[in-house]
């Protein structure tokens, strides 16, 4: 599943650590989500989408399969 987390984060000029702090997760989790290695839970996916003012289905694209979790 492809996502636009890295793209949106860099657009806002945020570091991975700053985004992690805003979402209440670790920097390693932001790295894992951005690289597609970890699919976040629904609450975290919604929190990410809300943070970037995007609908969750625009933030995460279910048609593109990349992640293994």
């Amino acid at each position: 599943m492809r996502n636009r987390v890295r793209e949106r984060r860099t657009q806002r000029g945020l570091s991975q650590a700053e985004l992690a702090a805003a979402l209440g997760v670790s920097r390693q989790t932001v790295i894992s989500i951005e690289s597609g290695r970890y699919l976040p839970s629904l609450p975290l996916a919604f929190a990410i989408a809300r943070f970037f003012d995007l609908p969750v289905d625009k933030m995460f694209d279910p048609d593109d399969e990349e992640a293994d979790t």
Binding site: V25, S26, R27, P40
Partner: protein, 135 residues
């Protein structure tokens, strides 16, 4: 249960508690060198507790787990690690039991006990966490 202890101290505290209990067991056992073994295991527990405390300061998954501040992905990682640990424990216990039976050893029963406890734990886990129809 341990929420009155600061997150970073929780696992080290558990280590110290376990080390103290094991050292006390040597005291109860007695014998000529009980104090030596009790001190040895007590110091080993303290060193391990210190190592976990220091690890908890690391900006890494292992640090988050050691410091009891894991997020959802790190909790999944923790669960997977425990699952692997349980599987390996069961496999080791099965091999131990098989070897013990084959060589007619008298020490077969601890392996059977470990297999029984881990197997029962798995069944209990399914019973507790499964979703029943009608829920």
């Amino acid at each position: 249960m341990m929420s009155f202890i600061r997150p970073r101290w929780r696992r080290p505290a558990l280590m110290i508690l376990a080390g103290a209990a094991f050292a006390a067991a040597w005291g109860v056992r007695g014998g000529p060198h009980w104090s030596l073994w009790a001190t040895l295991f007590g110091v080993a527990a303290l060193v391990r507790a210190l190592w976990i405390y220091l690890l908890a300061g690391e900006d890494a998954d292992a640090g988050a787990l050691a410091g009891s501040r894991a997020d959802e992905r790190q909790k999944v990682l923790n669960l997977r690690s425990w699952a692997m640990s349980g599987r390996l424990g069961m496999i080791a216990a099965f091999i131990g039991l098989t070897v013990a039976v084959a060589v007619k050893a008298s020490w077969w029963w601890p392996f059977l006990a470990i297999l029984a406890v881990t197997g029962a734990g798995y069944v209990l886990g399914i019973a507790v966490y499964q979703t029943r129809s009608g829920e």
